[in-house]
């Protein structure tokens, strides 16, 4: 005889302990294979924002940073060369 109350409590307890990270990792492994074995643990970083947060990184790129490789003192007559 299946004890439905016991099973229900077990499932409630399970989801109390499952975090966003643990569920995301489980789902990624299920859908993409054991990708963590290949890539190691860590966050997935995409170049563009997607609607599904599972596969996206919401951090915006910092495009205002100074690029030291571009010389700032180029004479005007050299710019088009």
């Amino acid at each position: 005889m299946i004890d439905l109350i016991k099973l229900n409590n077990k499932i409630d307890k399970l989801f109390e302990t499952e975090t966003s990270d643990s569920l995301t990792k489980w789902l990624l492994n299920k859908r993409l294979g054991n990708i963590n074995m290949l890539l190691g643990d860590g966050k997935f970083v995409n170049m563009r924002e997607l609607s599904a947060p599972l596969f996206s990184n919401k951090n915006k790129g910092n495009f205002n940073q100074i690029d030291n490789n571009i010389p700032t003192n180029i004479p005007d007559n050299k710019l088009a060369a």
Partner: protein, 164 residues
């Protein structure tokens, strides 16, 4: 209770059913059986037809610890509640809707379903051949996903059918 298992005919007689591990197996990795022989035959004709012949096996299965979502109202309500609870947690914590298979796999891997021998489930058949009335699929298509193969008492080839 008698259930039916359909496989392609590959020239050998199976001694036990084949466990389905396909991604579209909606109740997870399990031994799948049909409750009605009509549906087992239709599955042979429609899906298990690559060799031109299909085999229908019958099995006696003890259904004591089966979650019966088809005929048991308490089990059905429990099932709906747990699937929706799981889906809600997945959406909230991952931002993605899980499939029914993923929820079942998750429950199985977290040893929630280890207390179940299997799940009896139904959908509506697309098979018009065996329906006695016009334009209404009144008959349930019932499947058993059996996790515990020890519950199979007898497993034997019933007959081999031709696909053409």
């Amino acid at each position: 209770m008698t259930f039916y298992h359909t496989q392609e005919n590959r020239g050998t007689i199976l001694k036990e059913p084949i466990k389905c591990i396909k991604n579209n197996a909606w109740l997870g990795n399990a031994y799948y059986f049909w409750e009605n022989e009509d549906d087992a035959v239709f599955w042979g004709l429609k899906v298990k037809n690559k060799t031109g012949k299909y085999d229908i096996y019958s099995a006696e299965i003890v259904i004591e610890d089966i979650l019966d979502t088809v005929f048991n109202r308490d089990h059905y309500n429990f099932w709906i509640k747990q699937i929706e609870k799981a889906a809600k947690h997945f959406v909230k914590k991952t931002g993605t809707k899980p499939t029914l298979k993923e929820i079942n796999d998750f429950f199985f891997e977290r040893e929630i379903w280890s207390e179940l021998d299997g799940i009896l489930f139904q959908d509506i058949s697309e098979n018009p051949v065996h329906f006695m009335v016009k334009e209404f699929q009144y008959k349930k298509r019932i499947q058993l996903a059996l996790y515990n193969s020890n519950k199979i008492v007898n497993f034997a080839l019933n007959y081999t059918g031709q696909c053409n």
